[in-house]
Amino acid sequence: MRPASELERHGNMSGVGPGTEGMVLEGTEAEELRKRLETISRELRRDIVRMIGLAGSGHPGGSLSCVEILAGLYFYKMRHRPEDPDWPLRDRFVLSKGHAAPALYAVLARCGYFDREELWRLRRLGSMLQGHPDRLRTPGVEISTGSLGQGLSAACGMALGLRMDGLPSRVYALVGDGESQEGGIWEAAMLAAHQRLDNLTAILDNNGLQIDGRCCEVVSLGDLPAKWRSFGWEVQEVDGHDVLEICEALDRADAAQGPGIIIARTVKGKGVSFMENNVDFHGKAPTREEMERALEELGEGT
């Protein structure tokens, strides 16, 4: 449940996006939410697999690991207007781990930012859907990302700008665990804590794998919750594939006194048996046959 003060603050914001009504995540209401987000997640996965399969290149592993997180943000938590992407009061989302662009595109298309048919032109010459997010080409993309370790800084800048203007909007940034080897992440972590950016929430897609292998074998990230706490962030830990846990954590983050991070334990390649925890599918597209097999596993789609 959102704090009363915030509900009050947004009481006159008619026409806001999904998830603005505030919700107690228990009972039948919660079960309905769970069912809705799980259905959406399954369909998003189908779109991700299909779009990368058709493109013949892309990053399925880290796209599939963040599906429930994005579903929770775009279909429960964030205030946004797909028909008016520049709506000044919208919440902002930054995909700091830009290679998960297919997941973001699938979500944006499903929200109605652009025609779903665009998904099948991913990575093609002239497509609005670039290999990594491009804010100038794709409606709903707040800032271009792809070079790792920069999106969280950009999110800090957005949070600062929104606060300067006295706007109630919140900023969400999805960070990868491999990405957390970039020094820039920790520069941003320091600045956000020093500035007490309570309108900033990071979500860490903690799938444990990076291109060269397991993070703990490439360069260990150590005790991530302790690290973030010591940097002055409010830390929550959730199962990154449990939609209700994600939604509850996102709600709790509203009340943070400074920047907050939700460390989401996830499975790289989640939902497709032969991609799960398989480092080979970090940046490799499924073959046509693998794509069909994956779609079969993911069940009926729309």
């Binding site: 800084s153 300067m164 320091m190």
Partner: protein
């Protein structure tokens, strides 16, 4: 010999920021623990709510600037030129420029004239780096007034811009009434024999060189190329066509800098004899600014010599008229 009044280009920047901040609430300034050096501290004291010190973290400074600009701010991001363009190159390229955001990178301590701090702090490649980034505009003001007016102008140009400011005080060449025209090369002194193109610290040296050459019967046309990108193609070609010879001057590497920019234009449109005064594939070193200008062959006499050799041909002899 004329006594020149000396003022800092970065003071012109600070003055412009105060003016901009006064009339436009969208103006936000970021620095990376160098506010006293870059002179953004003046803005910080006047508008503390619109100033953010990012600490010793230039990469974060640039990407944070991009995020602020994405919320509608006009962001000035300042640090030393070496860090702004080298340390944070990827943030500038990928997060600011690729996103086409209104971040104005106003970097002080550009060039060899940083002086005593030595090579680690002397940006000799910053113009090359920024010129290569699509959408980036590059401006190198020559004095206090030009810096002040240039900063006010780039504030309202769409997208990213790089403004190179210096450390030392430089002769005041313009006045209160100076009108900066972005993208327009400015003829400082007309001449028929050779076109001398300079900007920033070396513009004054170019003017001194022209004075020296005039005494020998060589009339140099001195052009202030304050806007290095986009290049004023028409203005430069018009002058080059008249004189038939071009000398470029920069306290910067000749590889990809001002000389390269002019050479790229001339090679395609109007190949003609040309010389570049600048630093050639070398690091900087400690020393006083003026000593370094001499040491690296960037002084008025070096510029004059380059022009002289073009006019006389390498064998000496009479000017080719």
């Amino acid at each position: 010999m004329t006594e020149w009044e000396l003022r800092n280009t970065r003071d012109g920047y600070a003055e412009a920021l105060l003016e901009l901040g006064e009339k436009d609430p969208r103006i936000v300034v970021l620095d990376a623990d160098l506010a006293k050096s870059t002179q953004t501290e003046k803005f910080k004291l006047r508008f503390p709510e619109r100033f953010v010190d990012c600490g010793v973290a230039e990469q974060n400074l640039m990407a944070t600037a991009a995020g602020l600009a994405a919320t509608g701010k006009i962001v000035f991001a300042s640090t030393f030129a070496i860090f702004a363009t080298g340390r944070a190159y990827d943030q500038v390229r990928n997060t600011i420029a690729y996103s086409d955001l209104n971040v104005k990178i106003c970097a002080s301590h550009g060039g060899i004239t940083v002086g005593e701090d030595g090579s680690s702090h002397q940006a000799l490649e910053d113009i090359t780096l920024m010129r290569a980034v699509p959408r980036m505009k590059v401006v190198v003001p020559a004095d206090y007034f030009e810096a002040r007016e240039a900063v006010k102008a780039v504030a309202y140009l769409d997208g990213p811009a790089y403004v190179r400011l210096g450390r030392p005080k430089v002769p005041v060449l313009f006045g209160e009434d100076y009108r900066f025209r972005f993208g327009k090369a400015l003829v400082m002194r007309p001449g028929r024999d050779v076109t001398v193109i300079a900007c920033g610290y070396l513009l004054h040296k170019a003017l001194l060189a022209a004075e020296e050459l005039s005494g020998e019967g060589i009339e140099a046309e001195v052009i202030n190329l304050h806007t290095v990108k986009p290049l004023d193609r028409e203005g430069l070609l018009e002058s080059a066509a008249r004189t038939g010879r071009v000398v470029t001057c920069e306290e910067h590497t000749v590889h990809g800098g001002v000389g390269s920019a002019v050479a790229e234009l001339l090679a395609e449109e109007m190949p003609l004899p040309m010389r570049m005064v600048g630093i050639r594939d070398r690091f900087g070193t400690s020393g006083a600014a003026e000593e370094l200008v001499e040491h690296y062959g960037l002084g008025a006499r070096h510029i004059a010599e380059a022009a002289r050799r073009l006019c006389h041909g390498d064998n000496g002899g009479k000017p080719r008229r």
